[in-house]
């Protein structure tokens, strides 16, 4: 009885995705219609300059935003887990949690308005003509990612056995040495998971990017969204197949890394 519910739920989640990927190999021009096995839509995708350009831009934005998010979110998670009470802690916690709960349209519009006001100020004060595009999208995505990384890192720090760091300090390690040789390796899985989370969030976002981007900053999701508004094309099937293959590869890699680290941590604990 319980198994049936689980199987039906998983089938509901997976069937559309698997069909989408399967029909990417169909020769037919109409999506979800079988016209014999063919790789023509993958070839069409590989020849689609706009799509490739947007994908390359999105990958660079996602990598940059995820890296910034891990640096800042790691610090934020550390502050939340280790700094105890300080003046402004409530405000800090609320701001770090806000991107998790704000509706996308609110985040997007408010960040755009910030960038517009800053652009106006820069022009009035220095005569600078700042545009919007990849940089503004990167700043917005780093902010979203920061919030997610902070949660993951805070949870990992809270779950650490304090005896490990105390032992290192008792044996004469300086605070930074303790951090570098004990704490950092222990929270590394959280940093990897946080980076991946921030990276996929950025690659998946269409709403915030649409608000804060400019004419030169069309990301892959923005392009796919504009096409889906008209309808599904087999090229998008092929794109989904590629994304799924890459995501599977990346997750498999992460599982291997995290699995190895997790076992190491379990042995240490």
């Amino acid at each position: 009885m319980r198994r049936i519910g689980l199987v039906l739920g998983l089938a509901f989640l997976w069937l559309p995705i698997l069909l989408l990927v399967g029909y990417a190999f169909s020769a037919d021009r109409i999506p979800f219609q079988w016209g014999g096995f063919s790789l023509r839509w993958f070839r069409a995708l590989a020849a689609n300059g706009r799509m490739l350009e947007a994908a390359w831009l999105s990958l660079r934005i996602a990598a940059g935003a995820a890296t910034l998010a891990v640096l800042l979110g790691g610090m934020a998670g550390w502050v939340l887990a280790r700094h105890g009470r300080f003046r402004g802690r409530a405000l800090f916690g609320a701001l770090a949690g806000a991107p998790l709960v704000l509706p996308e349209v609110v985040t997007g519009l408010s960040l755009l308005l910030l960038f517009v006001v800053l652009q106006g100020a820069a022009e009035a004060a220095f005569g600078w003509q700042l545009g919007r595009g990849a940089t503004t999208v990167l700043l917005a995505h780093a902010t979203l990612g920061l919030a997610y990384v902070a949660v993951v890192v805070q949870a990992r720090l809270a779950g650490l056995d304090p005896a490990l760091e105390e032992a290192a300090a008792d044996l004469g390690a300086a605070p930074f040495t303790v951090f570098r040789t004990v704490t950092l390796p222990l929270i590394a899985p959280a940093l990897v998971a946080g980076w991946l989370l921030a990276f996929t969030l950025s690659l998946d976002d269409v709403v915030v990017a649409s608000f804060v981007s400019g004419p030169a900053g069309t990301t892959l999701p923005m392009l796919v969204f504009s096409q889906l508004r008209v309808g599904l094309t087999p090229e998008i099937n092929a794109l989904a197949a590629v994304i799924l293959a890459l995501a599977g590869l990346l997750l498999g890699l992460a599982a291997v890394i995290l699995g190895r680290n997790g076992r190491g941590g379990a042995r240490a604990g």
Partner: protein, 308 residues
């Protein structure tokens, strides 16, 4: 000093890119529209002093078009969250009842669709639901319907997309709560002669309510401002706040009104957000408590860790 160096970068970033934007949003909600770039007059300026207006806020309250969009959004978010919860219960119960080695792979199966991209999944529904699509083909083939039903661009398609996108959000907290529960209570009820359904209704369900509430809110909050799903799958008349805001901003270039809509959406969501945060804190505190207080067996202590 070292503490300060760790605190300063994220705090400065959050003040600049979270606090300041929301403050500016509130300011522009009070400003007047004006032709030009950007298309509004700042509410306060050195030359003119106060030149703001409450007109945008009043428009939202008085014009039925905007009030209606808020009402529709709350209904759609509520129905979507309830549907997700209904589907999440059997899935979460199945995962919680699975053998220990199976739980993480099963949870991964629920979460993995996240990594396949949000837009491709909506694309799949567009392909499946269109007139000559798979779903209609199956229905006609089975003789359920005589011809294709107009499935795409309907409320049903929109809810299907919502549930498909947000179901993992609902499964996660529910599974966490169900794994944390003390199985001895259910066994006691069964030993005393309660049928499986009675055990579920009188023991499991009440015990899982905090997780269910968190699951509901985790879907409700983002669904209330959702733009992409109703735009791609819903009927044109499904004018939810997210779509109305988008249209005011991108099509009508009425930035002050779009900002006022965003502020109103935020105000409406404050209560659910606060409630969710309180449930979340309670949940993690329970999860952090020693196993002896949570349950009886040694395995209980490891269960919350399964989800981290």
């Amino acid at each position: 000093m070292r503490r300060f160096l760790v605190l300063l970068p994220p705090f400065a970033w959050l003040l600049a890119l979270v606090a300041a934007p929301v403050a500016i949003l509130a300011g522009i909600a009070l400003s007047q529209g004006a032709p030009g770039v950007p298309p509004f007059l700042p509410p306060v300026s050195l030359a003119a002093g106060w030149q703001g207006t409450l007109e945008n806020i009043l428009t939202l309250v008085q014009d039925g078009y905007y009030a209606g969009s808020f009402l529709r959004s709350l209904v759609v978010a509520g129905v979507s969250a309830a549907l997700c919860l209904g589907l999440a219960y059997p899935v979460a119960l199945g995962i919680a009842a699975a053998r220990e080695g199976w739980r993480v792979p099963l949870l991964a199966m629920v979460l993995l669709p996240f990594w396949t991209g949000f837009l491709p999944r909506l694309g799949a529904w567009i392909g499946l639901l269109r007139d000559g699509g798979w779903v209609n083909g199956v229905l006609t083939g089975l003789g359920v319907t005589a011809g294709p039903l107009p499935l795409l661009y309907s409320d049903a398609a929109m809810y299907l997309g919502m549930v498909h996108a947000y179901l993992p959000f609902a499964v996660l907290p529910l599974t966490a709560t169900l794994l944390r529960r003390d199985l001895a209570v259910e066994e006691a009820a069964a030993d005393l002669g309660a049928s499986p359904w009675v055990v579920f209704r009188t023991v499991t369900l009440p015990l899982s309510l905090p997780g269910a509430a968190a699951a509901f809110l985790l879907v409700f909050i983002p669904a209330a401002g959702e733009f992409v799903i109703p735009e791609l799958l819903g009927p044109p008349e499904a004018l939810l706040v997210g779509r109305v805001l988008w249209a005011e901003f991108f099509q009508n270039r009425d930035w002050p009104l779009a900002a006022a809509l965003a502020v109103a959406l935020l105000v409406l969501l404050i209560a659910p957000i606060r409630l969710f945060q309180r449930l979340d804190e309670g949940g993690s505190r329970r999860g952090a408590s020693p196993p002896s207080r949570v349950g009886g067996t040694a395995a209980d202590g490891r269960r919350p860790g399964v989800l981290r």
